[in-house]
Amino acid sequence: MCDTCGCGTPSRRTIEVNERLLASNATAATHNRDHFAARQIFTINLMGAPGAGKTALLEATIRNWRDVSRVSVIEGDQATERDSARVRAAGATAYQVETGLGCHLDAAQIHRALHRMELARGDLLFIENVGNLVCPALFDLGERLRIVVTSPTEGVDKPLKYPPMFRAADIVALNKCDLLAHLTFPLDEWTDYVMATNPRALIVKTSAVSGFGIDRWLAEILQRRRAFLERHSE
């Protein structure tokens, strides 16, 4: 009650906070990033709609990365170990996170996974996020590179409909390019939409099925990993 005048209304006060939301995720992500830098582990967060071909691109990458380094994968799905089994069959070590109700991976889940996996110095680490064009965009995992995998069957307007996701991307991979001949998908229009949401994104066109663009895809990853290794070699 208000002591001063006895008016009978509870005394209200304002507490200034001024804190960013999801600050705890940011802290955990920074911790992961430091962990990766100390061990020279180049980490890529693969995001995209369900079925865009994230795992298919991973399989192609793993098969072509043998002579460079080991590849490890953290797989995030609401349920099942199916994607882990696929990347293991392709030659990677994999750790599955079943997110259950969660529609995205967060930095704390990655941190817990790191304690349970056997990562070696210099590994290439992929995190395949939950298939979803909305939620994963907001959660920094401590990665060095963010790739959004999308495909022409999703339609030309996805960058406009899901701007935070496309904005989060360093690289936007347009996968399933083998299907372009069979679809109405104006490539120039789509490119304009990607650039409208994220002018600094690099577009890489691929087909995990035909192998089209996989060399370029590998080269872009290789180049960024090399720069990272140079920065973090002690």
Partner: protein, 114 residues
Amino acid sequence: MHELAIARDLLKTIERTLGSDQARVLRIDLSVGSASGIASESLRFVFGILAEGTRAEGAELSIATTPARGRCVGCGMLFEFEGMIGVCPGCGRLGGELLSGDEMALRAIEVADV
């Protein structure tokens, strides 16, 4: 539903701010950038449920939207986005480089002593 994770984080931040203070939270002031991808209604909904039985039960979630600002990659003009992607008022080009408007913060809480 990333709003669930955000609401959970928000409640944690409020609890930490209050510490052992036996106050009841009346209002929560958030500022959310218009390009952040946060759906205010979903956030209100899940926060209302999560807050049940806590000191923030029934608190009003007041969400101020801050406009997103960006730079046109065509003509370089700085402008305010309408929604998540803007159109440059200078040259009509769609979109641009986002400079601000994807942030979300807890500004303040208003409490009453019990």
